[in-house]
C-alpha cells in the first residue's frame, strides 16, 4: 500500500492503494467515479476508456504508479454540463441502448476528434474498433461522430 497523488477532472486526490492497482479500480472503488466502466480487464473492449494527458487509454490496464502528475479526464469531466460536442451529438442521434459501453465510446470519439476534427468513415472505424458494443449501436455511433465533427467545426 502506498499513497498516490492523482489529478482527475481537474481535482487533486490522494489515494492509498497498492502500486499495481489499475486506474479503473481507483476511479470506481476509491473515487466513486462510476461513469468509467469495468468490461474485460485486458484492454479488449474499451468500456474503461479515459483520457490521460489528452490521449485515450484503457484504464483497466494502467497501474496507478504510472499516473502521478498526469491529467486524467473521465466521462464526468469531459464537460461540466454534457455540452461537449460529442455528448451533444450522442444525445441528438440518441445513440445508446443499454448505455454501458457508451462512456468509453464517447471518450474514444472525443479523443479522435481532438486529433482528427473531420474523420473519414475509415478513420472512425480504425479509431473505434477497440470499443465493443454488445447492443450493436455502431451505426449510430458513427453517425454521432460525424455529427459531432460538424458541430465542432461550426
Amino acid at each position: 500500500m502506498a499513497s498516490y497523488q492523482l489529478k482527475v477532472n481537474g481535482k487533486q486526490h490522494t489515494v492509498e492503494v497498492d502500486p499495481d492497482t489499475p486506474l479503473l479500480w481507483v476511479l470506481r472503488d476509491n473515487l466513486k467515479l462510476y461513469g468509467t466502466k469495468y468490461g474485460c480487464g485486458i484492454a479488449q473492449c474499451g468500456v474503461c476508456t479515459v483520457h490521460v494527458d489528452g490521449l485515450p487509454i484503457r484504464s483497466c490496464c494502467v497501474p496507478i504508479e504510472k499516473l502521478e502528475n498526469k491529467e486524467i479526464v473521465t466521462i464526468e469531466g469531459l464537460s461540466e454540463d454534457g455540452s461537449h460536442p460529442v455528448q451533444v451529438a450522442w444525445k441528438k442521434i440518441d445513440v445508446p441502448q443499454c448505455g454501458y459501453c457508451q462512456s468509453g465510446q464517447i471518450m474514444t470519439a472525443a479523443a479522435l476528434l481532438q486529433r482528427k476534427p473531420n474523420p473519414s468513415d475509415e478513420e472512425i472505424s480504425r479509431a473505434m474498433k477497440g470499443n465493443l458494443c454488445r447492443c450493436g449501436t455502431y451505426t449510430r455511433i458513427r453517425e454521432a461522430i460525424h455529427e459531432a465533427s460538424k458541430h465542432q467545426q461550426s
Binding site: 462510476y34 474485460c40 479488449q44 450522442w90 454488445r134
Partner: protein, 721 residues
C-alpha cells in the same frame, strides 16, 4: 415522492380481468402513475430496463392515452413489489414487455384521462362530452378554457374509477409511432446512468469468487495462505452450491474472496491454491457431445407433432426423401456489464441491488438462501448493461446473499469477465435433421423435423411454430444433458431452430428449381385449418393465422420493394433470404455477401430486413433492436461457438470470445410493415433469421453449403456441398 403535495395515485381495481394471474399470490393492481400539483407526471416502471427501451416505450403508451405532455413525464423504477403480477412485473423477457403491457397501460392512461375530464366537468359544470385531454391540459372544446392536469389531479383522485373507457384510435396517437428520444440518454452521455455494478452502499465490502472450472464440479480443499497476504483481503471461505427454488438457478461451487476493493479481491483469487473435484463432466467435450447428438438423431426419439403419415409416404414409389443435418452450437452472452449483485443481510431483513430480468425470482431465491420470509427481502431492480436472457437467472444475488450473511456486512459481488464468459448460462447446443418428402409431381408433401438439444425448450416441434402448409408433418426430439449450464440467449430456441429450418428451405428451393420468395408464398397459399375443438386448438389456430398473414405480408413487401430480385450481383457475391417468427413478430433478412481476403474468406456487405410487428411504438428503438439483433447474430456466426475440453470452457475473455467490431458492420436497411394491430415484440425477432440468410447467401456466392456456425475459412474451402 420528493416535492410532496397533493397527488393522484390511480388504482384500477376493476381491471383485474386484464391480467393473467399466473404467479401464485399475486394480485392485479395498476398503480403506474401519479400527477403532482405542478402537473409533473411520474410513471412507475415495473419492467426491467436492459437497453431494449422499456423505460421509454412503456411510458409512451401511457402518456399517449393520458394526453400528457411528454416533457412533464419522468420515470421511477419500482422495486420488486408483490402487488404486481407476472405479466406486469414478474419477468422481463421473451420480447413480451410492450405486447404484454399494451392493453394494461392504455387502459391505465385512458382511465386517468377520463377521471381528469370528470373532475374538470364538475368544476366547470359541463358535460365531459365537450372536453378533451391534450398536452397535459383538459380543454373545453366549446370555449377554449383549459385546466392543467396538476390542477385537477387531487379532485380526480377522489372520483370513482370508471368501469370502461374508450381508447384512442390509431390516427389519434401523438407519441406512439414517433421516434421519441430515450429518457436515459442524457444520463448515459455524461456517465451518470446507473447500473447494478455501480451500487454503492455505506460500509460495503467487495467480493469475487474463484469458481470450479467444470460445470457442477465440487470444491475439495483450498489453501488461502497467500491470498490472505494480498493487501485489502478481509476473508476467504468456500462458496457452496444451493438447492434453488427454481431448478434453472444454479450456483457453482467456489472459493470466495472478500476484500476492501474489487481489485484486491480479483488479485487475491489468483493467489488461491485450490483442489477441485470436477465431477461427472470431468471428461466432457464438444466433439463427444456432437457425436452423441448425431447418434440420437438417427435413433428413436420422443414424438412431437404428427399430421398424416410421412413414414408411409417415404416408402411410396416415386417419392423422394431429401434431408440435411445442421449444427448450432453453444453461445456465450458476453454482456458488457459483467454479472454482479450487492446484498445487505441485516439479520431479520435483507436488501438486494441487482440488474435483473426478474425481481420476483431474485426475491424468492434470496429468501431461500437467507431463510427469511419473502416479505423481508427488498429487491431493488437496477438498470442493466445488457441482459439478453442471462439476467433472468439469479445466481449472483444468491451468492451475494450468502456472503453478506457470512461476513455480516453489505457486499458487492463482481464477476470478472473471465467468470462471465466461462461460467455463462449458455445458449443451448442443437443439432437438427430436416427432411422433405417430394412427390413425383415435385410437390413437398411431407415435412419432418428431428431436434436434439441440450435444453428442454425447442421451437419448430409444435405446429404452432410452422406457418407453412404441408399435408404430412412429423416432428420429434430428444434432450441430452448439457455439459455446461444452459440458459436463455437472445431469441432462445428460435435461433437454434431457424438455422436448420430456413437453410433447409433454401436447399429445397434450389432442388426444386424455384425462387425462394415464391416457393415460401406457395407454401403459405392455403388457409390455416383449425385442428380440434379445444381452447388450445383455438389459440394455435389464431396464432398460425396471424403468422401466415404476417409471413405473406413480409414476403410480398420484399417483392414490392424489389429487395430480392433487385440486381445481378458481381461474381464472387451472393445473396440469401430467411424468414422467421418470434412471438408473433415476423422478420425476414436478405443478406448479401462477397468473397474477401480476410480471416473468414468472406464478408457480409448488406442486410435488408422487413419486419411485421403490428403497431410500431417507437421507430428509432425498433430499428435499433433489429440492427442490434443482426449484429448479435452475426457475431455468433463469425466468432461464436464454445469450446469445451475436459469439462472446461476454453473461451475466457473478448480475445477468444470475440464480438463484431465497428469495421465489420454491414450496411443495414430495415422496413417495418405499417399496421394497426396490437404490438408484438422486437428485442429478439431479428436474431433467428440472420444465420440462415447468410449461410444461404454463401451458397449462392460459392456453391458451398455450410450447415453450421461459426463459419470459418476452412468451411468455405472444403469440398463438400
Amino acid at each position: 415522492m420528493a416535492g410532496g403535495g397533493l397527488m393522484m395515485s390511480i388504482t384500477l381495481p376493476g381491471s383485474t380481468h386484464l391480467l393473467d394471474n399466473t404467479s401464485p399470490g399475486s394480485a392485479a393492481l395498476n398503480a403506474f402513475l401519479s400527477i403532482a400539483p405542478d402537473g409533473k407526471i411520474t410513471f412507475l416502471l415495473t419492467k426491467h430496463e436492459m437497453g431494449q427501451g422499456s423505460g421509454t416505450g412503456l411510458p409512451m403508451i401511457l402518456a399517449d392515452e393520458l394526453g400528457a405532455d411528454w416533457n412533464k413525464l419522468s420515470i421511477i423504477r419500482s422495486d420488486y413489489d408483490r402487488k404486481f403480477n407476472w405479466r406486469t412485473m414478474g419477468v422481463t423477457g421473451g420480447s413480451s414487455t410492450i405486447s404484454g403491457m399494451w392493453d394494461v397501460l392504455r387502459k391505465a392512461g385512458a382511465t386517468a384521462r377520463e377521471m381528469l375530464k370528470q373532475a374538470a366537468a364538475k368544476r366547470w359544470e359541463v358535460s365531459t362530452a365537450i372536453l378533451k385531454a391534450e398536452n397535459n391540459f383538459i380543454v373545453n372544446t366549446e370555449n377554449g378554457e383549459k385546466l392543467e392536469f396538476g390542477q385537477l389531479a387531487e379532485a380526480a383522485a377522489q372520483l370513482p374509477v370508471p368501469e370502461s373507457v374508450t381508447l384512442k384510435k390509431p390516427e389519434e396517437f401523438v407519441y406512439i409511432g414517433k421516434p421519441v428520444k430515450n429518457l436515459l440518454t442524457e444520463d448515459m452521455a455524461i456517465g451518470k446512468a446507473n447500473y447494478g455494478i455501480n451500487t454503492d452502499v455505506p460500509g460495503m465490502v467487495y467480493a469475487s469468487i474463484e469458481k470450479c472450472p467444470v460445470y457442477k464440479g465440487k470444491l475439495k480443499n483450498f489453501d488461502a495462505t497467500e491470498a490472505l497476504k494480498v493487501t485489502g483481503v478481509i476473508d476467504v471461505f468456500p462458496m457452496p452450491s444451493f438447492e434453488p427454488v427454481s431448478p434453472d438457478n444454479h450456483v457453482q461451487e467456489g472459493v470466495v474472496v472478500v476484500a476492501t476493493s474489487t481489485w484486491a479481491a480479483f488479485k487475491a483469487r489468483k493467489a488461491l491454491k485450490i483442489e477441485w473435484d470436477p465431477g461427472k463432466f470431468a471428461t466432457a467435450n464438444i466433439e463427444s457431445l456432437k457425436k452423441e447428438m448425431s447418434a440420437v438423431l438417427n435413433g428413436t426419439m420422443d414424438p412431437g407433432y404428427r399430421r398424416g403419415d410421412t413414414d408411409k409416404l417415404k416408402k411410396e414409389e416415386g417419392y423422394e426423401v431429401f434431408e440435411a443435418e445442421y449444427d448450432n452450437p453453444y453461445q456465450a452472452h458476453a454482456l458488457m456489464e459483467p454479472i454482479n449483485a450487492t446484498v445487505h443481510f441485516k439479520g431479520d431483513t435483507c436488501e438486494v441491488w441487482v440488474g435483473t430480468q426478474s425481481g420476483e425470482r431474485v426475491t424468492k431465491e434470496v429468501a431461500k438462501v437467507t431463510g427469511l420470509p419473502e416479505d423481508k427481502i427488498t429487491t431493488h431492480v437496477l438498470n442493466s448493461g445488457g441482459a439478453f436472457g442471462r439476467r433472468y437467472y439469479c445466481d449472483s444475488s444468491m451468492e451475494a446473499a450468502y456472503i453478506s450473511m457470512q461476513i455480516k456486512k453489505p457486499v458487492k459481488v463482481t464477476w470478472s469477465r473471465e467468470d462471465e464468459v466461462a461460467h455463462d448460462y449458455f445458449h443451448p447446443y442443437q443439432k437438427s435433421i430436416h427432411r422433405a418428402v417430394i412427390s413425383p409431381e415435385k410437390k413437398v408433401v411431407g415435412w419432418e423435423t428431428s431436434l436434439c438439444r441440450t435444453e428442454v425448450y425447442a421451437s419448430g416441434l409444435n405446429i404452432a411454430d410452422i406457418p407453412y402448409d404441408f399435408p404430412n408433418v412429423k416432428t420429434e426430439w430428444k434432450q441430452l444433458e448439457s455439459i455446461i449450464h444452459p440458459g436463455a440467449w437472445r431469441s432462445v430456441s428460435e435461433h437454434s431452430s431457424s438455422l436448420g429450418k430456413e437453410s433447409f428451405m433454401d436447399e429445397l428451393t434450389r432442388k426444386l428449381g424455384k425462387d425462394p420468395v415464391e416457393f415460401r408464398l406457395e407454401l403459405l397459399q392455403e388457409e390455416i385449418r383449425k385442428e380440434g375443438n379445444t381452447d388450445d386448438a383455438e389459440r394455435v389456430y389464431n396464432y398460425r393465422k396471424l403468422l401466415r398473414e404476417r409471413h405473406v405480408a413480409v414476403l410480398n413487401t420484399i417483392k414490392e420493394k424489389g429487395l430480392w430480385n433487385n440486381s445481378i450481383l458481381p461474381s464472387g457475391s451472393g445473396k440469401g433470404i430467411a424468414i422467421e417468427n418470434f412471438g408473433g413478430t415476423v422478420c425476414a433478412h436478405i443478406a448479401q455477401v462477397s468473397l474477401a481476403d480476410n480471416d473468414f474468406g468472406f464478408k457480409v456487405d448488406k442486410v435488408s430486413s422487413v419486419v411485421h410487428c403490428g403497431t410500431l411504438i417507437n421507430p428509432h428503438f425498433g430499428k435499433g433492436q433489429i440492427e442490434g439483433s443482426i449484429i448479435w447474430a452475426l457475431s455468433a456466426l463469425k466468432y461464436g461457438g464454445v469450446e469445451v475440453e475436459k469439462g472446461v470452457v476454453k473461451q475466457r475473455n473478448f480475445h477468444n470470445n470475440r464480438l463484431l467490431k465497428m469495421d465489420e458492420i454491414p450496411e443495414i436497411e430495415i422496413y417495418f410493415i405499417e399496421s394497426d394491430e396490437p404490438p408484438s415484440g422486437l428485442g429478439e425477432p431479428g436474431t433467428p433469421p440472420l444465420a440462415p440468410a447468410v449461410l444461404n447467401a454463401l451458397f449462392d456466392a460459392t456453391g458451398k453449403r455450410i450447415r453450421k456456425i461459426p463459419v470459418t475459412k476452412e468451411d468455405l474451402q472444403a469440398n463438400s456441398i
